[in-house]
């Protein structure tokens, strides 16, 4: 069977794409878990959260029955605290730092508790924030992703009039378009964006793309300041023969399709090879499998020890029945009638440590060939270098350079998120948006 859609029934798909980390079903469950928390001082969980959510406080608030206060504690630090509770790799952040780990006990289910309160606030449309009266300042934010929205919310809170320009039809950025569907649904993403915007003072102009519909120069003129939260987005190419064949897709586009269409409409092959071992690679592999692909193989040029994804994510792929080939690097994709047929890989071995500190993969000269009908490239994303250079914003290979006040080389132009750091977690982008807002407010003298 070649690449095709509609491999599974609607019921099967619903089951496969159901919430991977289900919420607490009852208040009692949340309360029991909340009461396990010992409420550490200068808590390691809080220190391990890029947005510094006061975890012991919000958990104590669940325990005391103050759910509204709990939601406010979470969302004041991280306005996307609802989505982050579903997509954060908590095993290497808050939960990974929980002191219970040092006792050999299960860490507190911080994400699940966070979801409990934040989701209630979002679904219940709780009015937790009150915007200060307008101060007449106008700021343009480019990108309605986590960085842009966090920046816009923090600015609006202080009375700034914010206009957000978003190239897509919906807000949320990668939360909406780039995360595995079993972690967060499009409906939730919309509710979350609506919740953020409900503070008022934020006008989002959708389908407005930088470089096409708007220019930075024009925004600089019209607004008192500009925040660039444009993210990254171009999939890194493999630079090997056969990449143009029918059946070779990049993971970002694949997941984008999944997030914007019915699952039944997404085509996958029988034998899918996913190149890469980051979070996006896992998302692409597991979802291929869940769409009905027979065999999904993740191919990574280093060993399991160097993998960029977390153990929890790897386990997810294992449980979904994905296979792994370590120490292999794609050499060539062979086609037949323009369609993918085989993937040839170089066998690698580990050499000396590279600049990342990890041992670099070295070609052994040996190869192997596998039958595949689909290749998903998930070897990382690269910044919008050309776009950025057009605006004369200082950058390093497309990654925007900012000073310690988040300002770029252009006066009044600030930046943050993936477009600055090259691509990190949603929670990092939220913090970058907050930092950007802080820099802008200082700049505006608000």
């Amino acid at each position: 069977m070649p690449i095709q859609n509609n491999r599974l029934s609607t019921e099967d798909l619903a089951l496969k794409f159901a919430d991977v980390h289900p919420p607490f079903e009852h208040a009692e469950g949340a309360a029991i878990e909340a009461d396990r928390c010992i409420n550490c001082y200068d808590a390691p969980c809080t220190k391990s959260c890029p947005t510094s959510i006061d975890v012991p406080l919000f958990i104590k608030q669940i325990s005391s029955g103050n759910i509204k206060g709990s939601a406010k504690t979470i969302l004041s630090s991280n306005i996307m605290g609802g989505g982050c509770s579903k997509v954060c790799p908590v095993e290497k952040l808050c939960e990974g730092a929980c002191v219970y780990n040092l006792l050999g006990e299960e860490p507190i289910s911080i994400a699940k508790l966070q979801r409990y309160s934040a989701e209630k606030a979002i679904k219940g449309k709780w009015e937790l924030f009150e915007r200060k009266p307008s101060n007449g300042k106008k700021v343009a934010v480019i990108g309605a992703g986590p960085a842009g929205l966090a920046c816009a919310h923090a600015l609006s809170l202080q009375g700034v009039e914010v206009t957000v320009f978003e190239k897509e039809e919906k807000g949320g950025g990668l939360m909406t378009y780039g995360v595995a569907a079993y972690k967060v649904t499009p409906e939730f993403c919309k509710e979350e964006v609506d919740f953020i915007l409900s503070i008022g003072g934020i006008d989002v102009q959708y389908k407005k793309e930088l470089g096409k519909d708007i220019t930075l120069a024009e925004l600089q003129q019209k607004y008192d300041a500009v925040f660039l939260g444009i993210g990254v987005g171009i999939a890194r190419s493999l630079d090997i023969p056969g990449e143009e064949l029918d059946g070779v897709v990049d993971a970002i586009s694949f997941i984008y399709e999944l997030r914007t269409n019915d699952f039944s409409k997404i085509a996958v092959g029988d034998n899918v090879a996913v190149i890469g071992m980051g979070m996006t690679a896992i998302d692409a592999a597991t979802q291929s499998k869940r769409l009905g692909a027979k065999d999904v193989t993740l191919i990574y040029r280093r060993t399991e020890n160097e993998k960029p994804c977390t153990e929890v994510e790897l386990d997810l792929a294992k449980l979904d029945g994905c296979s792994f080939i370590w120490l292999a690097s794609p050499k060539e994709i062979i086609g037949e009638n323009g369609k993918v047929k085989k993937l040839v890989c170089n066998k690698m071995k580990l050499g000396e440590p590279d600049t990342s500190g990890r041992r670099a993969p070295v070609d052994t000269g040996e190869t192997f060939t596998m039958d595949v009908d689909m290749v998903i490239k998930a070897a990382g994303q690269i910044p919008f270098e050309e776009l950025i250079n057009k605006s004369s914003v200082q950058n390093k290979s497309g990654k925007i350079s900012i000073n310690n006040k988040t300002e770029t080389n252009l006066k009044g132009v600030f930046a943050g998120g993936d477009s600055v750091n090259g691509g990190k977690e949603v929670v990092d982008a939220v913090q970058a948006g907050k930092d950007g807002a802080k820099g802008i407010l200082q700049y505006l003298g608000v």
Partner: protein, 422 residues
């Protein structure tokens, strides 16, 4: 195997655990279930002039997710016909002749009523009587229960009435709703009681429903003070028990210890502070009669471990260890020590000491884990850090005497030794 057999005023039971006079002992069906589970004896729920109860009756104090760390009730004495109670008591006695059967009594406040009640009760063949001078709600307003226990003269008089006709051992149950249980205990002894028991419940309000603003338990929009019991009252009960055990004129009177006993450890503690046996209620109400298994087993294993052959071997052993503050040794000094290998860096020791105690813990900030060490010269040895530490034996208190000799406050003051200068 240790021998758990108990002999309280000649009343024998296979173990020292009796069910206290309360709802679990108010009828045959419960008591049979209790004896089948292994309880050593029961104090049958208080008999007296028949009353009518209200609904609801109980409420609880929950803490940090634990339900019923404290419990209260506004039930009165038995609301069943006296004759039914007496008949059932006879039947149970026949079915379980080896278990202790004590009947709790609260007659109307006159000599004749008490005489009648005592006679009818001992006619059943019961092994002993317990005089309820402690019930803090409802009966008090009728001049009974705690109203008797709170006035030593009345208590003495009632005990005298009882002793005029009693042919079986009499235990007087004291109220904790007094500044000291000793006068009431002495009065009962002067009146001729054979034994004492304490504590009865403590007047309380466990909480308020924040929607209706009605305190618990809610009886049609109103509430009354209820009798507090359960684990939360244990420390108060132990203190009251100790004051009796330390009193010269009470020392030879057997005491049945009551008040929040939930585990065998609690029971051992009561006995170490002078109780010859113990009575349990709330723990059984919360978890059922099966708790008797571990109460007996745990006590037995502890006794084996410590080499006590029978329960009398350890009753009262801790009484002399509670002294007057003035006699404490000021030269005794301990300082906290944190085992860095066991520390999980929660910082609870630090923040409790820093915010509310003596600023005796150093912090070295780390990411994400801080390191905490004791400033020995500042530590007063208060135990707070050890109490809040979630890891067993991570914080230990190490003895660092201030001087070799035993030195109490009286002597310290006499010698004019220096007080703190900061």
């Amino acid at each position: 195997m240790a021998n758990l057999q108990s002999n309280f005023l000649g009343i024998k039971s296979p173990n020292p655990f009796w069910l206290a006079s309360a709802p679990p002992t108010d009828k045959k069906i419960n008591v049979i279930r209790a004896f089948e589970a292994g309880w050593g004896g029961v104090v049958w729920k208080t008999l007296g002039s028949q009353v009518k109860n209200v609904s609801s009756r109980y409420s609880a104090l929950n803490y940090n997710g634990r339900k019923a760390v404290g419990f209260n009730n506004i039930e009165l004495i038995s609301d069943r016909p006296l004759e039914v109670n007496l008949k059932e008591i006879r039947e149970v006695l026949k079915l379980f002749p080896d278990r202790a059967m004590i009947i709790s009594l609260m007659a109307d406040n006159d000599r004749k009523s008490w005489h009648e009640m005592v006679k009818k009760s001992q006619d059943t063949g019961a092994h002993g009587l317990e005089l309820n001078f402690g019930c803090p709600h409802g009966m008090v307003e009728r001049g009974m229960g705690a109203a008797v226990g709170q006035d030593p003269d009345i208590a003495k008089m009632v005990v005298e009435w009882v002793m005029e006709v009693a042919t079986i051992p009499v235990i007087t149950k004291l109220t904790p709703n007094v500044h000291s249980a000793v006068p009431g205990g002495l009065a009962a002894i002067e009146g001729g009681t054979n034994g004492l028991s304490l504590i009865n419940t403590i007047q309380s309000v466990t909480g308020i429903d924040l929607d209706t603003l009605v305190p618990n338990p809610n009886v049609g929009g109103q509430s009354v003070f209820g009798g507090y019991c359960g684990p939360a009252v244990k420390p108060i009960a132990l203190k009251m028990l100790t004051t009796l055990a330390q009193e010269e004129r009470i020392r030879n009177i057997p005491i049945s210890g009551i008040g929040g006993i939930t585990t065998w450890k609690d029971a051992v503690e009561f006995m170490l502070l002078g109780a010859s046996n113990v009575q349990v209620c709330t723990a059984a109400m919360i978890s059922g009669f099966k708790i008797i298994t571990d109460l007996c087993d745990g006590m037995s294993n502890w006794m084996d471990e410590k080499g006590y052959k029978s329960i009398d071997d350890f009753v009262g052993l801790s009484v002399p260890k509670i002294t007057r503050w003035e006699e404490l040794d000021i030269n005794f000094h301990i300082v906290a020590k944190i085992d860095q290998d066991k520390c999980i860096h929660c910082g609870l020791c630090y923040i409790s000491c820093e915010d509310t105690s003596h600023q005796s813990i150093d912090i070295e900030r780390g990411n994400p884990y801080n390191t905490y060490t004791i400033k020995e010269e500042e530590c007063v040895g208060c135990n707070l850090c050890k109490i809040v530490c979630p890891v067993n034996d991570c914080i230990t208190m190490v003895e660092q005497r201030k001087g070799d000799e035993y030195l109490n406050w009286i002597e310290y003051e006499k010698r004019g030794l220096p007080l703190n200068d900061h």
